[in-house]
């Protein structure tokens, strides 16, 4: 196998995007994505069974398109990487079974990859306009803030291949999920992120003050004696507060100030995300932060993250948006890093893990199952 510039095919199916990406070392050859997002619109959120059905039908065509765009054949590939978790169990299953079948058919090594770490690994792809991270090596003292419909986390990355730590995460809804739910309350449609971002520009964010979850002293503690949720988030209380606010206007027979509520909600989300992320970085000596996940597209989140990072002397890196949302290129990118680091492949016996911890960058090879 080519270990210095490995040709790696990455497969992503943890939520509603079927992604196949191909990289050569840190060079991106293709990032092919098929989304079932349109099928979820009428439900106002991702329906796991619909996403899984779409993955099954999209996988081979997406693979075919990716190989064609990268101008490589399966025989050329050095290794295969697949998202093994975290994510929706039924959706992960489709990508994992397809990846294993590719490994059986081609005899290539297979890496079962952590989706969250892959969001960081994508920052290592070079030659992309706007991609500020240097090739090959991640910067020193690196943190990653991941915000999407499925997750909200702050990570510390000492080594992308074997030392990743979860500093904080949401204890209930993901930020993107909160956007979807609030957009539904406000009648703004799905997906909620872009809809709220748009209308919030016309509103007054200070008109209403919504709660910032887990910011009371008992949860925060101090830097020396951190509370249990110092770097964690909670968005379910915020969603309830928005619903109650809307009901109060309706009960009084007044017009609901949708733009103001959207702006105030967005400000509450973005304020608490960036405040806690910057706090975690400062207290862990992290001087570089990578922003990933689909909510990285949110204009107010980007703005406030930039502002607060620069005030704290933290350098912010934001990959191009098509690499921030879920995709196969990020899986391939992390796979290539693992190959280059000499990490053992995962084999074909592992089980997808819908709650795979970030400390597991790639699943270790499983023992053969006992024969029944």
């Amino acid at each position: 196998m080519n270990r210095s510039q490995p040709l790696v095919l990455g497969i992503e199916s943890s939520c509603d995007e079927t992604g196949v990406g191909i990289v050569r070392g840190t060079d991106l050859l293709t990032n092919t994505v098929s989304s079932s997002m349109d099928e979820h619109v009428r439900f106002g959120g991702v329906i796991p069974e619909i996403a899984s059905r779409a993955h099954l039908d999209a996988f081979v065509p997406t693979l075919q398109a990716a190989l064609a765009e990268a101008r490589v054949t399966l025989a050329d590939i050095d290794a295969i990487a697949v998202t093994s978790g975290p994510g929706l169990a039924g959706a992960l299953m489709v990508g994992v079974c397809a990846a294993k079948a590719l490994a059986v058919a081609t005899g290539k090594p297979l890496y079962a990859i952590n989706h969250l770490v892959a969001h960081v690994g994508v920052g290592l792809l070079d030659a992309r306009p706007g991609n500020a991270l240097p090739a090959i090596a991640l910067p020193e003292n690196l943190g990653a803030l991941l915000v999407s419909g499925g997750h909200t986390e702050i990570l510390r990355i000492r080594s992308i291949t074997d030392d990743v730590e979860l500093l904080g995460s949401t204890i209930d809804d993901a930020a993107g999920e909160a956007y979807d739910k609030v957009a539904r309350i406000l009648g703004l449609g799905y997906p909620g992120g872009p809809a709220i971002d748009r209308i919030a520009r016309e509103g007054n964010a200070k008109a209403i003050r919504f709660p910032r979850g887990l910011t009371q002293p008992k949860y925060m503690g101090t830097a020396e004696e951190p509370g249990r949720h110092r770097y964690d988030w909670s968005f379910s209380g915020l969603k309830t507060a928005v619903a109650r606010c809307v009901e109060q206007f309706e009960a009084k027979g007044e017009t609901v100030p949708v733009a103001d509520i959207a702006a105030a909600f967005q400000e509450a989300v973005v304020d608490v995300i960036t405040a806690k992320a910057v706090l975690a970085c400062r207290e862990h000596g992290l001087t570089n932060v990578l922003l990933g996940g689909g909510v990285a597209a949110n204009s107010r989140l980007r703005q406030l993250t930039e502002q607060r990072c620069s005030a704290a002397g933290i350098r912010l890196h934001v990959p191009p948006l098509d690499l921030c949302t879920d995709n196969g290129a990020m899986v391939a990118a992390l796979g290539a890093q693992l190959v280059m680091a000499g990490t053992e492949p995962s084999g074909i016996r592992f089980a997808p893990d819908s709650s795979m911890p970030v400390t597991t960058v790639s699943a270790p090879a499983a023992e053969p199952a006992r024969s029944a």
Binding site: S52, G90, M93, V94, K100, V104
Partner: protein, 223 residues
């Protein structure tokens, strides 16, 4: 002709069948478990090929059971089969999974001329289909597949794990009361149908049920 058959509509199974081999069987495996398909299927197929000293290039076609069966398990077999067919550039066919049990019944000595096959659909329901059988012929699907309550099925001898599960309301054959669709019979069924010049269907899954998703109604306004 060498066929790789895969079925994960209930348990996970795969088989290599050939019209050249003794009784058509080159090799096969199946699990008892109905919930670990993603772990066992690929290693099982890999071992099957290795034991038979067969590579992808030797295979003429792939056949996959398209259900009905629990969704996540069913998809693991279809995703595997579709990907193998693409990677090896081989034709892919889909067969209704209950056909596997029907063929097994047909090959038994006391097969009736008309019968049901039923498997567990969970949620207190069965997947089922009705077959007729004529001497020396393959079982013929005459109704189904359907999903429904066992109590509503036609009054006929019933075969398969779904019949065994609801033997209080079905005329379950005790010798077949835990039988699940097996890729071995599916492969043989496909081989026989292809030999007689039939076209086989594609690998579109037979879910029979919609996803559980509910379109949310309008939010209730406060009074």
């Amino acid at each position: 002709m060498l066929i790789l058959a895969i079925d994960t509509s209930a348990v996970a199974s795969a088989a290599l069948v050939s019209d050249d081999a003794l009784e058509g069987i080159v090799g096969s495996f199946s699990t008892e478990d109905t919930r670990s398909h993603a772990e066992v299927l690929a290693p099982g197929i890999e071992a099957l090929l290795a034991d038979a000293d067969v590579t992808g290039a030797d295979i003429d076609a792939i056949v996959v059971g398209v259900g009905p069966g629990p969704f996540t398990g069913l998809r693991s077999g279809i995703a595997t089969a579709r990907t193998l067919a693409f990677a090896w550039d081989k034709p892919l066919h889909g067969l209704m999974s209950l056909d596997a049990v029907a063929l097994e019944v047909a090959e038994s000595t006391e097969a009736p001329t008309e019968f049901l096959v039923a498997t567990d659909a969970r949620r207190k329901e069965v997947y089922w289909a009705r077959y007729t059988l004529q001497e020396g012929q393959l079982p013929k699907l005459v109704d189904g597949p359907h999903v429904g309550s066992a109590a509503d099925l036609p009054d006929l001898p019933a075969y398969g794990a779904g019949a065994g599960l609801y033997s209080d309301v079905l005329r379950a054959d005790p010798d077949f009361s835990s039988e699940q669709p097996d890729a071995l019979y599916l492969g043989q069924f496909a081989l026989a149908r292809l030999a007689s010049g039939e076209q086989l269907p594609d690998s579109t899954p037979l879910y029979l049920r919609e996803s559980d998703a509910q379109v949310p109604g309008p939010r209730k306004r406060a009074l």
